[in-house]
Amino acid sequence: MHGTEAYWGRRALDFVDAIEASKTTASVISQFEKVIHDLGFHAYIMAGIPTPGQSLASLTLANGWPAEWYALYIRENLHAVDPVPRHCLATLNPFVWAEAPYDRERDPKAHHVMMRAHDFRLAQGYCIPIHYDDAVGAISLAGERPYLDAETKSALHLMSVFTHGRLRALARPAPGAPARRRLSEVEAEVVRWAARGKTAWETGQILGLSERNVRWHLEEAQRKLRTKNKTATVALALVNGEIML
């Protein structure tokens, strides 16, 4: 056991060193996919957690789900009933899917999602919540019979969080890069309402989104524009022609 521990500790640190030195998203993703494959995981997703009315697609940082599962998940809004993302809101620590609580009797839809996942060889999974002040996201990995011992989970936790961070860093424009449109339609819409003085709650009412949902879009706009608060996001979006009043 001690041998395994030392092996995965080293391997996880080497992995982090390698992705920190990698210059492209594609290279980071391929290294990540290889290492989780070695641990029995064939699928993963890194995304913000959607709330009712919000699209998962607009919050996805990296998508390694089976294409059909992802399409089904989005088509049927399964995130709204999936106990795994729900549990992310309640815990700071990573957990295995089986630990995400739901009541099989009173919550048959939750049970249904977990069962449907089996059809796509997503029998067991491991999920790492990502908590910011104003948004929650998750990294979720799954396979048929993945390794889920304590050492593997620790190594996965470390490698996943640093992969997530590296992908975010690579998605940011390099300093001095020419300005171009970076905001999605919905992000621009939310920033436009912020520019008119609407709070997140008010914008949610206007657009039919939840307040948390609006905050997530603002957070994404902030990340893309490399600003640090709502005022700066509005100002930069205006100056760069991302929005017009």
Partner: protein, 227 residues
């Protein structure tokens, strides 16, 4: 605007009246709120073996009230990482004159999150970089709860893991080494809107300090609206 004061053995006498409330706040936050019961003491003060003469404190003071703080311990002396959590660091022990260990980073509950002025936790993270650059420190080792990592990434703190995360008292915890450099400090200053150094070095005139780089707030380039 809150002030951040450097407190170390050379000027500790100037801050004598702050230490009792400081240790009581630590008890309130770490023992009562976060339930780190190993730190419990009957006198209601949280003081440990790393609160030595050599420890350096940043006190965030607003109108005379202590609203946040941070502790830096030289890694040439025993640290949390070397004495309490050695299993968290598999890259090898850190005993370097240019690395300090940070711990007990807190903001009082009523000043967390967004208020008028910069966020206090951002001020503290910026101020410790300024301290490090000023005295020639190149890195900070930290034992921290793992959920901090995405927040560090977001504010530009570059953290390098030293080992795997472990579950300790119900929380995932890991050891990291964070770069202390001018680029990070400048980026933090830009994020918090600070145009000049923030530290107050009261009674520390005898300490030789390295010059800090200039900070400018860059106006974003105005692009032609794309039609």
């Amino acid at each position: 605007m809150p002030e951040i004061h450097v407190v170390r053995k050379d000027n500790r006498h100037l801050y004598a009246s702050y230490f009792d409330p400081y240790f009581r706040l630590r008890h309130e936050i770490y023992v009562k709120q976060r339930k780190w019961m190993a730190l419990d003491r009957p006198d209601g003060r949280e003081i440990d073996q790393f609160d030595t003469e050599e420890a350096v404190y940043l006190f965030c003071l607003d109108k005379g009230q202590l609203i946040g703080a941070m502790r830096a311990v030289p890694t040439l002396l025993p640290t949390l990482m070397s004495e309490i959590f050695p299993e968290l660091n598999i890259r090898g022990p850190i005993h370097r004159p240019d690395v300090y260990e940070l711990s007990r980073i807190f903001v009082i509950p009523e000043r967390r999150g967004e208020h008028a002025g910069p966020r206090i936790e951002m001020l503290l993270l910026t101020a410790i970089m300024e301290y490090g650059i000023s005295i020639g420190v190149t890195g900070f080792s930290i034992v921290l709860e793992s959920w901090w990592l995405p927040r560090f990434e977001r504010c530009g703190w570059k953290a390098h893991p030293l080992g795997l995360p472990r579950m300790i008292d119900g929380m995932s915890v890991l050891a990291v080494l964070v770069d202390c450099d001018e680029a990070t400090w400048k980026s933090l200053c830009e994020q918090t809107g600070l145009l000049q150094p923030t530290l107050t070095w009261q009674g520390l005139d005898g300490i030789s300090r390295q010059a800090l780089p200039d900070v400018f707030l860059h106006l974003p380039p105005a692009a032609q609206p794309t039609q």
